[in-house]
Symmetry: C2
Subunit: 74 residues, 2 copies
DNA sequence: ACAGATAGTAAAAAATACTTGACATTTTGA
DNA sequence: TCAAAATGTCAAGTATTTTTTACTATCTGT
């Protein structure tokens, strides 16, 4: 009955669609460090809602197009 | 040139639309403490992306319908 | 082969989110 | 009017996110 929330993201794809934007560039535009972008892109942890919005803003897409959440019942 | 991200939410409205769900109930269903719900609802801080998804899931709406982000240039 | 740009890892410290518990206020209904 | 339920505040502690620094690996072009 416990739900598990698996959050995934499309940052890598979005970076390449956005003229092959580098992690460094995304980090600067989103106001985060490069390490943070790497960790989030790699799914090491999920960012704060604010950072999630900042990243979505860089790409000019709604937040739901950057981050997705699969809910698994167990 | 720095951007400010003002995150707001519609939790209060959504709770009342959802059969007047109490903060306590929402906290339990979202797997958070009541204090956390109070603080988020009051805009004290923005939650983690995971908790944001959990809250949206309780109401059965996409995350963008619970949280909104106004970008202000300055 | 070398230099520079990009991507990746790791660890410690700082910042922020979250929990727990205790108590105050307001609202609602018996 | 009284009690219970819902909301809210405060503070201390835990957990997680984020930054900083430093080092390694891979790829590209000269």
């Amino acid at each position: 009955m416990a739900k598990k929330f698996i959050i995934s993201n499309h940052i890598r794809k979005l970076r390449f669609f956005a003229n092959e934007m580098t992690q460094q560039e995304l980090a600067e535009k989103a106001g985060a460090s490069r390490q943070t972008i790497i960790a989030i892109e790699a799914g090491k942890y999920s960012p704060s809602l604010e950072l999630a919005f900042r990243i979505a803003d860089v790409f000019g897409v709604p937040i739901g197009e950057v981050f997705e959440c699969e809910v698994r019942e167990e």
